[in-house]
């Protein structure tokens, strides 16, 4: 499962932008995504993936968020 692609699709849907604008290094705030938008996307992903992802980290770029979600998913797998 490619979390980056899933997240990218969510971002494109949320802010209705050209997919090429969303790279791993893109700043979330730069895209107009604020911290509540981030929580909304995480909650949607939780529903899709059927897991709880406790969100307690500051994230700046798309990659930060991808890494956070991957880390949480790995923790769940190992639990």
């Amino acid at each position: 499962m490619d979390i980056f692609e899933k997240l990218k699709a969510k971002i494109v849907e949320k802010i209705d932008c050209d997919p090429s604008k969303v790279t791993r290094d893109t700043s979330l705030i730069g895209l107009g995504i604020d911290s509540l938008d981030t929580v909304e996307m995480i909650m949607d992903l939780e529903e899709e993936l059927g897991v709880e992802l406790e969100f307690d980290e500051a994230v700046t770029t798309v990659d930060d968020l991808v890494k956070f979600i991957e880390k949480r998913l790995k923790e769940k797998e190992n639990a």
């Binding site: 604020d34 911290s35 509540l36 981030t38 929580v39 909304e40 909650m43 969100f55 307690d56």
Partner: protein, 317 residues
């Protein structure tokens, strides 16, 4: 036997604080506040303590029903911003109304109005009362850190009240508490005991916005589905959802997740900010006075906040 809502009342202080004025007090602007929480202005008390706001809302509810203070059997007030630790806000409202019935407060932060209705339902069920006043009254401007830009823009002052009489219109309810002081807390004044060496925090609202958002959306969706099922109705049968007005983004996201048309969710946070336990009765009074409710319509009230706590109920109008 439970109750029916006979009349409603609300009161907010005259002084309006808009986003423009706030932008001169802390580093913020109208666009940020509007986009982030959906608030344009809030009412701020300049000389009225919490019980004065509650008293005025309660008096309006009594006047609307033509009921006098001596005809009330009990007053319950939901509040976290009482002007005194003792007497409680309900006692001060009782004094100002000239009532003589028992009066008590319920502290469940933003969920407290629904907790208070549930408590009231118990008194009706046991046949102890014929008529009750349930009030939500808050002066949150007293507990806000006015230098903290992400919380001071959210809250406002105000009060709402409902007059209840015996009836069968309180159809179902769910109350939840999840003891937690990390996500939302408002410390009390620590005192100046020469013996106490423990921690003392500044008595202002501390809130983790992202966690609160998540908790709120999940609570609204789950609690409304549960109370609808308990009442034997479909979620789609609900005519009005009157949610605690915490943040328009919370309500907007919950709307997307529930199979109820968006225009049935009442939103007035733009003009009042988050008034905690007062937000639902203020919204009820606005809707009622605008003539929005038709007899027999089903209302879902839902609230969430510090505790953590959440609550919802179904009421037939």
């Amino acid at each position: 036997m439970s109750f029916r809502i006979v009349s409603t009342g609300s009161y907010v202080p005259e002084r309006i604080l808009n986003n423009e004025e706030l932008s001169h007090m802390v580093e913020t602007n109208d666009e940020w506040i509007t986009q982030r929480v959906g608030i344009k202005e809030r009412h701020i008390s300049v000389d009225e303590p919490t019980s004065e706001l509650g008293y005025k809302a309660a008096q309006r509810a009594l006047d609307a029903a033509g009921v006098t203070a001596d005809q009330i059997d009990m007053i319950i007030c939901a509040s976290i911003t009482a002007e005194y630790k003792s007497p409680n806000v309900a006692c001060m409202i009782q004094k100002k109304l000239g009532a003589t019935c028992p009066a008590m407060d319920i502290n469940c932060a933003c969920s407290a109005f629904v907790f208070a209705l549930e408590t009231a339902a118990g008194y009706f069920a046991r046949g102890k009362v014929n008529r009750m006043l349930v009030v939500g009254a808050e002066r949150l401007s007293a507990t806000v850190d006015w230098t903290h830009r992400s919380t001071c823009v959210i809250f406002g002052d105000g009060a709402g009240a409902v007059l209840l009489e015996k009836g069968d219109n309180y159809l179902s309810s769910r109350l939840h508490s999840y003891g937690d002081n990390d996500i939302i807390r408002i410390p009390n004044y620590g005192g100046d005991s020469p013996f106490y060496k423990g921690p003392i925090e500044k008595p202002v609202i501390n809130m983790n916005g992202q966690e609160t958002f998540k908790f709120a959306v999940k609570s609204i969706c789950k609690d409304i589905a549960d109370v609808a099922a308990d009442a034997g109705i479909k979620v789609e049968d609900i005519s009005w959802v009157v949610p605690h007005q915490a943040n328009s983004r919370i309500i907007d996201f919950a709307k997307k997740k529930l199979p109820i048309p968006g225009d049935r969710f009442y939103l007035n946070i733009e003009r009042y900010g988050n008034t905690s336990s007062a937000s639902i009765p203020i919204a009820l009074d606005e809707l009622n006075r605008k003539g929005c409710f038709k007899r027999g319509e089903l209302l879902a009230l839902c609230a969430f906040g510090g505790g953590l706590s959440s609550a919802a109920c179904i009421i037939r109008w």
